[in-house]
């Protein structure tokens, strides 16, 4: 089992691809994506409307510990532009 950093991102569904493309650019294409997520944050309620206008998407990304700073640096401006949450924590990869 190796140490990895797990990133849990929750971002608007309409902008999720921008986050994923940023990760692709860093050569980190592996990810898990949960669509149809609701939420409430600084930008008010998200999800739970029939047009999915405000839907969130959940992104889970496990990255090598030595790359986490780089990833965070790449995602931070996006998070500031379009909102969303990003949590970083420790895990081990089986």
């Amino acid at each position: 089992m190796q140490h990895v950093k797990r990133l849990d991102l929750v971002v608007g569904s309409r902008v999720a691809t921008r986050f994923l493309e940023a990760l692709d650019t860093l050569g980190l294409p592996h990810r898990t994506v949960i669509p149809g997520v609701h939420g409430y944050g600084q930008h008010g309620p998200r999800g739970s409307d029939p047009f999915a206008t405000f839907d969130n998407t959940y992104l889970l990304v496990a990255v090598p510990p030595d790359r986490v700073d780089e990833v965070v640096a790449a995602l931070q401006p996006l998070l500031q532009e379009v909102g969303g949450m990003c949590l970083v924590s420790d895990a081990r990869w089986v």
Partner: protein
Amino acid sequence: MVGNLTDPAILFFFVGLLVGAVRSNLEIPAPVAKFLSLYLLMAIGFKGGQALGQTGVTDAAVRVVAIGVVLALAIPALGFVVLRRRIDHFDAAAIAATYGSVSAVTFIAGTQFLTARGDAPGGYLTVALVLMESPAIIMAVLLATWARARRHVTEQATVLAGVHGPPQPPTASGVTAGHPVPTPPMSMRAILHEAFTDGAHLVLIGSLVVGAASGPTGGRAMAPFVDGVFTGLLAFFLLEMGLLVARQLREARDVGPFLVGFAIGMPLVGATLALALGTVAGLSVGDLALLAVLAASGSYIVVPAVVRYAIPEARPSRYFTMALAVTFPFNIVIGIPLYHAAARALVG
């Protein structure tokens, strides 16, 4: 005027409202609601296209569409002028966009109502629906850019940060702590892309084209889907809309009496404008009434979808709530029969 109240689709809207009000656990799964909303756009687009394909581009079509575009520019401008004196400029721009644009579901309910009463509108009204969706958005984004420039000058930037939602300790949400001034929002290019590639928008346009292209044979093959089950699926969808409005009403803290008044007054003003221009242009009762419905309706799909990112400073708890929880039910219950009666009085 209460004729609307025996229409099963409208009645299901009330069922949804009541079920939502008693806080039932009823929930229409989001994927189903989205399917229904796309279905409605597809059906209305296809039927409009079929009608257009039969009549071709008539004189009446040109007049209706021209008036529609005029309204789509005049209404948001008027709205912003009224609002900017009373509320934050970003909210004002977003609300102006909301009322300048249109609501497809209201359009559908209006079409159903008018058709059932023998005043079926022309297929080109669907073209008006398409063309009236975006101008207000572009206008609002420009207004917000101007407001942002102005704000920067008066250095009020930091004051406005963190106004959204109930209070949350800054350390919890973290992001506010270090970065009080949000970076500039989406570029104009991205905004235009968002506005014109919105899924709902494109399904509507696409269906219009398919309807026009596929002729009577195609029309017959699609009829059980776009006509037969239409009322039933609309009823199901309006049940969900009722639930949604009930839920939204519970979150309506940010909408005071002034904004409630605006959410009813603006539709009436818009409808009056449409009725006036349309009467002068010699439209039929159905066309006139549905144009008034379009003018009176406020967008709660495309506009919020774009404005959320294009004008992040504006509060969805205002513009979205007004359009969905006040104007939509108002139009469905009172507005549509009223505009129809007015159109009959003016033209019939």
